[in-house]
Symmetry: C2
Subunit: 335 residues, 2 copies
């Protein structure tokens, strides 16, 4: 097939190990043979066989990423962040998409283990117990992204929805708003629903603003529900001067409704949306952003994973994305 160490050794008239050392830049071989070896290697277009090397060194320099869906821009962004940092540390990325199906997830955990990846990152909508158990059993360094883990064994990283939502609302308050409405998602969704609402409530409390039930509308994170919710908000007595939506999609919906009602944005009303990276960037590339982009979630995950692989001790098992705010100013979302 392709040229090997042996071939080079034969031509130069030395042993394989000498060639290996020279090619790996290991301490001083005699300059003469060293030079000759490099020459021959180049002229033969020698390409080291990483598979053989992996077998010998028991490490593949490959990270396995288990993800539910790459079409989703949110996941794509995180994936990009992971790849970026992985490259920095000399890792390549194998991606495995599961469609969020447990069966597929288990299948890929096995495949990645067979491939002897150096580490894994698991990011899915849910974190089935069986998957967590299987991941732990592989003994392969693994980091879980954005899901609460049962056991405190696998390190995980999350977006701190409470704190970020808090800061978004705080931002509005500091702009002078007093009547701030919220379009939340399903409050049964602990992270994106309940916790974002919690942050909203906390911010109001801390700034001594009354929490008014009529200023809360629930949606389903999708655009149309935001539009409907906004419609309701506009029809009641206390019309808000600002609205905070739990997803950017709902934020866009809210903008739609507001404009249809003849309101100007942001002159008449400010609308802010929690960035899920689904819409904002696509709709307006010029959009100003505050805080860190979603891809940092991936970057951080990979940084943590790298530490685990290197055997460094982690300060904690549960990390939160150390960011200010992942939102965009709705005023720029105008279409």
């Amino acid at each position: 097939m392709s040229v090997t160490l042996k071939d080079i050794a034969a031509i130069v008239g030395v042993s394989e190990s000498t060639v290996s050392r020279v090619l790996n830049g290991i301490p001083r071989a005699s300059e003469k043979t060293s030079k000759r070896i490099l020459e021959v290697a180049r002229s033969l277009k020698y390409t080291p066989n990483e598979v053989a090397r992996s077998l010998a060194k028991q490490q593949t320099h490959i990270i396995g990423l288990i993800i539910s869906d790459i079409y989703n821009p949110y996941f794509a962004a995180v994936t990009g962040g992971i790849e970026e940092i992985a490259g920095l540390y000399g890792f390549n990325l194998i991606i495995a998409t599961t469609g969020g199906q447990e069966e597929e997830e288990l299948k890929y955990i096995t495949i990645l283990k067979e491939k002897r990846v150096d580490g894994m990152i698991f990011m899915s909508g849910r974190m089935p117990e069986i998957c967590e158990k299987t991941l732990i059993e592989t003994l392969i360094p693994t980091v879980v992204v954005a899901r609460q883990v049962k056991e405190e064994i696998l390190p995980s990283i999350h977006i701190d929805n409470v704190s970020e939502s808090y800061q978004a609302v705080e931002y509005l308050i500091k702009l002078g708003h007093r009547k701030i409405a919220m379009i939340s998602g399903d409050l049964g969704d602990i992270e994106s629903g309940y916790n974002r609402w919690l942050g909203y409530k906390k911010a109001l409390a801390d700034y001594n603003l009354p929490y008014r039930a009529e200023l809360l509308e629930q949606g389903d994170f999708r655009m149309n529900s935001g539009k409907i919710a906004m419609g309701k908000l506009l029809q009641q007595n206390t019309v808000p001067t600002a609205v905070f939506a739990a997803s950017d999609a709902m934020g866009v919906g809210a903008i739609k409704a507001a404009k249809e009602a003849g309101l100007r944005i942001p002159d008449d009303i400010s609308i802010m949306g929690f960035d899920n990276n689904l819409i904002s960037r696509a709709c307006d590339p010029e959009l100003t952003t505050i805080g860190q982009p979603v891809k940092d979630l991936g970057k951080n995950a990979m940084e943590i994973l790298n530490k685990v692989i290197k055997g460094e001790k982690l300060e904690k098992r549960t990390y939160y994305l150390p960011c200010e705010l992942i939102i965009r100013e709705s005023t720029r979302l105008l279409i």
Copy 2:
């Protein structure tokens, strides 16, 4: 480390080769030992070492994907398509993003060769000669996506921009439109610019509609340029009843301008955009689509690559995505 064939062999009291055969389902070994081997393997949670297997069999079951940017939903979609089909054939995907930089591209071609991937898919904004040359030299089965290749060596697959643009315009014509404007991209861009414009022109000609220079405006594929272009189109004498934009982003921009001018869509004017998957889906998940999704580009690429890997002969070197139309009806893009 982990349990190997040898371990199992020792316990059962047979040779490694027997274990290997049984575990690989190779012809009949005596049922008794066979069963015992499987038992032991399971109880020891034996996981075959794919790295060793790769070395022995000289195939890794890995496909390398070289891509400029995973954040771009267009590339993400193609990637998803590739992964989907790759999985079907038992391949895993290593992704390498290059930011479109030649240097990085060359670097990754080398890395993937070292990793002895079974095949590669190259998809970038451009196709530098040096990259093409390097790809060919690797002797690894490779398929190029969406770029014209110099040599007729590497098989490639493209979107047929002329034909699709033609069909988009034809669609509008069949809806009864006679004054159809086009917002093109940079005509210096052969594929997305010139060819889409060409399809537009051809369709008009085939249906005996006059080509009017004043109905053509150029943009830069981005939303804002579409808005500006639309503004100009609306200020002249012959106001079009339909507009075809060379990108969905420009289509959205056109919609913006039209609405600001007080036009209702699609009642007053129809707007259609060439789908680049950048905006449409994000802005309106309910959007009706015509034709095949972008991800099919990836699917097809992987199907072709698989044939090459299997050693099947290809009927041709240059493929076109066998689709009708990759567009979306602008009327649903309304925001």
